[in-house]
Symmetry: C4
Subunit: 291 residues, 4 copies
């Protein structure tokens, strides 16, 4: 791309296409980027499947696809750097770092060398490419309400997590005691126990899996008192866990109610300038003047 | 059925019975159709049970029942075509296609021949008969509110699915890394790993099963760091997944609120200009003037 | 209990104690009955535990406890019949039948004989004693709001169950096709398949267990396309299943809102007698008279 | 700590730091205590992990950490006793007992002696140290709303638990009958049954695990009628269990609505007698008179 007299206008239209979604070209750019991100994630995911790893033909295809996509993301990153007015500011911004992280791990073999002993480290680094999915956020304009609802409910979510932590710790210790310590009374050295509640952290893992109603079934009570206490804890945990659901629900209903429940309107009093009068007020409730 | 001078009136009453549910005959037709659909689905389902497949007597019974039901649906389809004014328009409508699809797969053996090599293809086609269940939709008059609530919440559901996709991709990659890559550090060729997180797609399957609190337990973390991260992801996922529940709940509460708020309407008093009077008010409640 | 001149008053106070919960004696009777019901359920449950069944001492104790409790319930039933004014009407009422069913199965051995060949029938009949738990309902005065909320939401619950039935049928058939039919293409006689989706009813059982997020894990997809489709169905199912939760929630919020949202008050217009005026109305909105 | 003339002021500032969180020092004390509690819980949990138990070096480190933390909690308890005005009242208060329980079990070996035969008892007592997590409650100022919401919904939660108990008892007995009694018809002595529903308590455990959608999968129906009834019970149970979620949600929405409704207060205008003015209104919005 040679530099011409009209470089500024070129740069401006590139900026409009890449950073804005208002124009037709901008929307097509966004759709193309979306497809590239999803294709890239699919390629990264398929590269780890054993069936494809042992098949040289497929691996070659996947590596070529990966190289093409990395090339595209590199061009995109270069274009973004070129067309923005403050390249440094962009490069250090959240999106700049995400964009850089989405291409850098693919170049790791060139930098570290493809020697066998660095295989695991390489693999770890290259998995970072999956953060390309973060580029999707930029397209979610409707996510505002979702994130603001989560943000408003953050205190309650923290309190809830603290309550859950207390419940999980006590439940886990109780179940460990009932399932692993008590039946071990006959074997004082602690051997020969077959309980799946092998330690308190394991029991706490069980408590989290159970209280969130995930219930894998990899750790389950075996003894009768264990089952009895587990059943009681499940019921208590269930009663506990429905509360934050209600909180978020209430928070969102509240937002909605605030918007629809317009008992106060925006009429401005011409005498004193105050706003938000009662919807059927005839006189300003701040200065007594006729509205 | 011989054609008579009164064919138009015959056609009209057939139309009333088949397409409308207002008359007593129409309601009985609907109930009969409902029973036929449910019986047909039951027959299709039972035909696949190994116990019945190996029992010739039962299979003959099921095949006869299937043939009778297919005959009934064929007659119903022919009647619908005959009594409607625009047979082509009906045949190409959503319900026309559903009605055709509910009989066509049963005639597949006649068209393709019952030879053994086409067994699997045949089986696939004949399973399409299960779409007869779609005929049930026609009877659900109360489903309006349900589908409209889902429709209104569609943007939020799409955003939620996108957020979940991001969360699932990152969680899956993280768990794959912790459970399969890191413990494999001692076996650089990647063999000998016993982790159930064999690939990123498998890990993403785990993440979906876990975050929706289904929790089959066919893929579970085995290592201690894996369990630690899984527990953290479960808690984060749970905090994330309660949000859309709240959204739909709020959306539905909103609908309800809108309906109860309509006790006030927007009639303007011609004497004093005040609005939002009681819906059945005849006089303005601000100045006493006639509305 | 000898008959005296004051039998009517005896009967009345027995009625007050047994049928009403207003007096102190009535409350104690209710608490005693509650304990007897829970003890009886515990005894019935323990009688089926293999450890107790093989232990003659425990079985004797349990049988004695059962006989004492049956005696108490028989006395209670006789007293209820005696003190009510219309014994026949009580005997044929819902509670009368529940009370009879809670004692009759215990007398089954006397009627049918304790011979060994009737063991299974006897066992089936005696398990009916568990319906004694239904006697608990009588004590739940606070259950009104719960049952009325369920009652008001019944249409929506029926629609929801119909929608779920359609979703379960289609999901089940799809998964059966993907997991059991397609991989069987190499074995045309259908043998040698190891899929857990052995038939459509089994697949529908999987779909119900999955969509309600129970997720036992006894039936799980094994093939890669099966897992892909299962993940998609879980997400769709989850999006579907949060809707009725929202419905009931909205129904209950609505009830609450109706009660608290008093924008209309109960001022009665002295001129025309109409009620429910706007809270800050100064004139009756029905006749224009000053309130 | 020598007694000086300014002991009272010392005591006062210690009280401010330890019992209040308003000052900067008080906040740092709280953060330090939080870290100490979490570290202590982590140490207790790690002491039970078999890998660490068999490693003498790690066990020594953990025991030292535990002794240091117990020392800190002992100093904290002594300081609290010293700086409060009514040491007895504090010692007998809820927090006093929690604080004592968090140090006492660590001193159990000194009191009971570390002999091997008291190992299990010791272990049970020392696990009580986990109640240190209860000290966290003191820091949760935001938990008010959560606990008040649970408190207000307590009646409904009790009713719900009673309904669930009835549902669980009936479901459990039904499944026991279908899975264990009926297939046993051929083996009248009850032997040779392979059902996982070995007894009614076991079946009730299954019902609780299923109805709360935890679904471990350690107890699942094996027979076809068992699966059919289980599927029906899951759907009924799911319809039942979404109700209390709605209750709590509605209760919380109600609280929120009550709060937002308070933009209108009950001030009565002395000129025209109108009520429900805007909370910061100075003039009546109906007649313009001063409030």
């Amino acid at each position: 791309m040679r530099q011409r007299p009209t470089e500024a206008s070129w740069r401006q239209s590139a900026y409009d296409i890449i950073f804005e979604a208002d124009t037709s070209a901008g929307r097509w750019f966004d759709i193309g980027l979306l497809i590239a991100i999803l294709a890239s994630i699919t390629v990264i995911a398929l590269e780890t499947v054993p069936e494809y790893q042992s098949d040289a033909t497929w691996m070659r295809r996947l590596i070529i696809a990966e190289q093409v996509l990395t090339g595209l993301f590199t061009v995109e990153y270069a274009l973004r750097l070129w067309c923005t007015r403050h390249p440094i500011r962009y490069a250090l911004s959240f999106w700049g770092i995400i964009d850089l992280l989405s291409i850098l791990p693919s170049y790791a073999p060139l930098i570290l060398g493809e020697s066998s002993h660095s295989f695991v480290i390489l693999r770890s680094i290259r998995l970072l490419r999956v953060f390309r999915i973060m580029k999707l956020w930029r397209m979610m304009n409707d996510a505002e309400e979702l994130s603001s609802a989560i943000w408003r409910a953050r205190n309650k979510v923290v309190v809830f997590l603290a309550v859950l932590l207390v419940a999980v710790t006590i439940s886990g210790t109780l179940m460990y005691h009932v399932e692993a310590v008590l039946p071990g009374a006959n074997s004082p050295d602690g051997t020969g126990r077959t309980s799946q509640f092998t330690s308190i952290p394991q029991s706490m893992y069980w408590a989290i899996v159970t209280m969130t109603t995930v219930g894998y079934g990899d750790v389950v009570p075996k003894t009768t008192p264990g089952k009895l206490i587990a059943a009681a804890l499940i019921l208590l945990g269930y009663s506990l866990i429905i509360v934050p659901t209600g909180f978020v629900s209430a928070e969102l209903s509240g937002t909605k109610a605030d918007r629809t429940d317009e008992t106060l309107d925006d009429t401005v009093c011409q005498a004193c300038g105050s706003k938000e009068h009662h919807v059927d007020a005839r006189f300003c409730d701040q200065c007594g003047g006729l509205l």
